[in-house]
């Protein structure tokens, strides 16, 4: 029980990862797959940032009055800032691809797109 409460951040990140993976694998709608990819990325951000936590420490903003305090590790947060922006760009590009697919095939369900494409190549 102490194990679950002490590492609740890591367990939450892994549960979110498995939920996102289930969403990508199961639903045939393309936009739900993109939402599943976003959930997986969020879980990895949570896992990475909570590695740098130190118990009983303050946020990494130095107070010029009294020095020598215990601060949280600032390095994983700085790395994740870049990762969040990359995730935004990938989601935007994937959504614009879905708009083009809808213009070409008329539907955004993956089963029907595969059916239309297999009928086209048989002739």
């Amino acid at each position: 029980m102490n194990f679950i409460i002490g590492n609740i951040n890591y367990i939450g990140a892994m549960v979110l990862f498995v939920i996102g993976l289930y969403t990508v694998l199961t639903h045939p709608n393309l936009i739900k797959k993109i939402i599943g990819i976003n959930i997986m990325e969020t879980s990895i951000f949570l896992f990475f940032v909570s590695i740098g936590y130190v118990q009983g420490a303050r946020a990494p903003l130095v107070d010029p009055g009294n020095g020598g305090q215990l601060l949280v590790n600032p390095l994983p947060s700085a790395m994740i800032l870049t990762g969040i922006v990359v995730a935004l760009s990938v989601s935007a590009f994937a959504l614009s691809l879905v708009v083009r697919l809808h213009q070409l095939y008329g539907t955004i369900e993956l089963d029907e797109i595969i059916k239309i494409r297999s009928v086209e190549t048989d002739d």
Binding site: A59, L61, P64, L81, V85, L95, S96
Partner: protein, 141 residues
């Protein structure tokens, strides 16, 4: 959306959102925030304006030419400050060793290169998010 209530409330609350976004960008080296979150807050005000008043008026606020200038100018400004470090005799993108003025600790105008770079990156992020939104709406015509 042709709702009168949404339009009146948007017109009243828009300057406060923009002021808060600019505050987070400018105080990036003193309090939590920085370029990326401040740029996103600033961009959400323009997205709210487009949602309430329609695409025509929204594109007059941030046209294609203006967003092109903001985006390209942001990266070129960054590289210009880096090459300024090379011209003054040190490596690329140095701050204190290249002789930029440091100022007093804890004030807004301190830290040499940091407030300028933060401001330019914040404007760039704002222009990116608003251009994304306008491109996805423009396609319906």
């Amino acid at each position: 959306m042709d709702d009168l209530f949404v339009r009146v409330i948007t017109k009243m609350i828009l300057p406060f959102i923009q002021l808060y976004g600019l505050y987070v960008i400018i105080h990036g080296h003193l309090s939590p925030g920085g370029a990326f979150s401040g740029g996103a807050i600033y961009a959400s005000s323009l997205v709210l304006y487009t949602l309430a008043y329609g695409l025509e008026k929204g594109q007059k606020r941030l046209s294609h030419n203006t967003s092109a200038i903001f985006e390209s100018g942001g990266i070129l400004f960054f590289i210009f400050f880096g090459i300024l470090g090379i011209v003054l005799g040190h490596s690329f993108l140095t701050n204190r060793q290249a002789g930029f003025s440091m100022g007093n600790l804890g004030q807004v105008l301190s830290g040499g290169l940091i407030p300028v770079v933060t401001f330019v990156l914040g404007i760039k992020v704002m222009s990116t998010v608003v251009t994304l939104f306008h491109n996805m709406l423009e396609e319906e015509r």
